[in-house]
């Protein structure tokens, strides 16, 4: 037993002895990062001190811990990809990476990770890059607490904040992203988590999500992005406790769902969006305990959706709670709170005694004839709406919440 412990101690000691530290800086042994990287063995650390490093493309092809002290600046001079990570078990932290090159064919990034695993990128500042952090064919990587900023004006001229392609088991945690095309982009990424990020004022989507199964995104904030958040062609996605606010515009959604199945939307807040949730061709989704407040449209559920359950949500102060484009209804609504509900509760069980029709006649009219919005809230339209609520003729009569709540849920 003792000998084993001794061997263990010896090994770990030897690790500390032989894993060398290299220092890069003005008055240090190395003047450039490239020179230090040329010397290192697998497992060594490189400490980079304050300063401006214009070294073109820096390639990390050995296991290395690249640590910046007081945010040394790596500048791509608008020509080069700044950091290329091609080895496993690499750590990059504490750098300011700026001005990566722009090329539509090669997609250069501030930090680009190629075909590898166990890479950690944390606590960096990425400023004015084409793509900020780019991962392809990676697994088990962590992208944490980075501050990412760009100044894109046009969709075609700028890349994504965190771009992940064909990867598995990623953790995207606590990053702040603004001014890119898509804040976070997922394509063919599986078993990953997006947690506590803030994605705001990006040109297109705050989060763009395609063909990425078994992922979850939790407690993120998506604010004032060009078109909100899009989740498409995916199944088994979990969306918990996110906040979607102020996604305004003629094609802007809090959350845009297209061809999604078997997913779970729980505890999110949708505030002041033009359309909080837009559903197209989605099936078997459960929307539970979300708050829809002050949106133009709470949910637009197209007739192509089926077997979705909308349960225990609060709909407060929306212009229209629900809208649809057809008469086919294959979804269920139960136990939601609607502030427009005018029913009564005689048996005092806190559930309204008459069912609620969340679909107003006028929302159907506007869907068919957009300029009719001009007449919204006029007395004539209010009259039409009232009579339609009592005797549905134009709106589908099975579009119904049988157990509407009398009081809002505490969410």
């Amino acid at each position: 037993m003792k000998s084993k412990l001794f061997i263990l101690l010896f090994c770990s000691a030897s690790f500390f002895v032989f894993a060398k530290k290299y220092e890069v800086g003005v008055n240090r042994s190395f003047k450039t990062i490239k020179a230090a990287l040329a010397q290192i063995q697998n497992g060594d650390s490189v400490l980079v001190y304050e300063g401006l490093y214009k070294e073109g493309n820096i390639v990390l092809d050995k296991e290395v811990k690249l640590i910046g002290i007081n945010f040394p600046v790596l500048d791509g001079q608008k020509k080069y990809e700044v950091l290329s990570i091609k080895a496993a078990n690499v750590l990059v932290c504490g750098f300011k990476v700026q001005h990566s090159g722009y090329a539509t064919l090669e997609d250069p990034g501030g930090i680009k990770v190629y075909n590898t695993r166990n890479v950690v990128i944390r606590d960096n500042i990425l400023d004015d890059n084409f793509f900020a952090i780019y991962l392809q064919y990676c697994s088990n990587c962590i992208i944490k607490n980075n501050r990412i900023k760009a100044y894109g004006i046009e969709e075609q001229q700028i890349g994504n904040g965190i771009h992940c392609w064909k990867s598995d088991s990623l953790q995207i945690i606590g990053n702040t992203i603004s001014g890119h095309r898509d804040g976070i982009y997922f394509e063919f990424v599986t078993n990953s988590i997006i947690w506590r990020n803030i994605s705001a004022t990006n040109i297109r989507y705050g989060l763009h999500f395609m063909f990425s199964n078994n992922d979850s995104y939790i407690s993120n904030v998506f604010k004032n992005n060009g078109a909100g958040v899009a989740v498409m062609f995916t199944n088994k996605v979990k969306m918990f406790n996110n906040t979607f606010t102020e996604n305004w515009g003629d094609a802007a959604y809090g959350l845009f769902l297209k061809e999604i199945s078997d997913s779970y939307i729980f505890g999110n807040k949708f505030l002041k969006n033009t359309e909080a949730i837009h559903m197209e061709g989605t099936s078997r989704i459960k929307v539970e305990k979300n708050v829809f407040e002050a949106n133009g449209w709470g949910m637009k559920i197209q007739a192509s959706c089926m077997e979705n359950e909308i349960v225990s949500n609060n709909f407060v102060g929306n212009t229209f709670d629900i809208s649809t484009n057809g008469s086919l209804v294959l979804n269920t609504f139960n136990g939601n709170y609607w502030d427009k509900y005018e029913g009564y509760d005689l048996d005092k069980n806190k559930i309204g005694d008459v069912p609620y029709h969340p679909l107003s006649l006028f929302s159907v009219i506007v869907e068919k004839n957009p300029p009719a919005m001009l007449l919204f809230r006029s007395f004539m339209v209010t009259l039409l709406d009232k009579s339609e609520k009592i005797m549905p003729s134009l709106t589908p009569d099975n579009f119904i919440d049988n157990t509407p709540l009398m009081h809002s849920l505490k969410l």
Binding site: A252, P370, P371, A372, M373
Partner: protein
Amino acid sequence: MNRIIKFIVLDILKNKIVLVYTAILSILSWSVFSLEDNSTKGLLTLLNVILLTVPLISVVFSTIYIYNSSEFIELLLSQPIKRSKIWWSLFFGLTLSLLLSFFIGTGIPILFYAPSDVGIMMLLVGFFITTVFVAIAFLSSILTRDKAKGIGIAIMLWLFFALLFDGIVLFLLFQLSDYPIEKMMVGITAFNPIDLARILILLHLDVSAMMGYTGAIFKDFFGTSIGIFIAFIILFLWIIVPFLVSLIKFNRKDL
């Protein structure tokens, strides 16, 4: 002129109806705000009051008042006062007292519970709507000497602006839905002061929906400061034109 205005305002205040109108508005507004848990819903209810009740009371009360003061007008005409001065003072007196009761009845609760941009806009729009319908009352009462006919015209005009106009627009929208009529629709609202008022408030109240595709056309026009300015100019025209027409008619009328 000031003395005539003062006299008319005092006369109207002595007439209990305006006081009752103030009381009703105030009970309605305070109860609406204290019953609803959020002020937006209260504003919504008040929107209906402003778009229906305020114009109705303004137009009917003013028409009847003008008819009833025909003897007073004749008395004033025997004095060395210009005709237009009498008509202007009558207009100012009526408008002032109705604006005052609207402000006390609805304005104070709005400023108390919802001093936001929606509230301010609602107040402004309420002032304009009151004045517009007083001007319309002047026009309808000068058109005919018959009191019943005059009040009838006033009520018909109210009915037209508050209800029928929207019905006609809705009908047109469906008949012409295959054509690009969005811009035309913006133009059409200029022909109804109540619609204009409603859209001005709508752009603040349902801002999220108005940012969407359907509202974009209106947001582009009414949402800009120039658009709001133009809308208020049109509302102002709705005051000036009917009143000036009535003034010209009054100057030439053989009483």
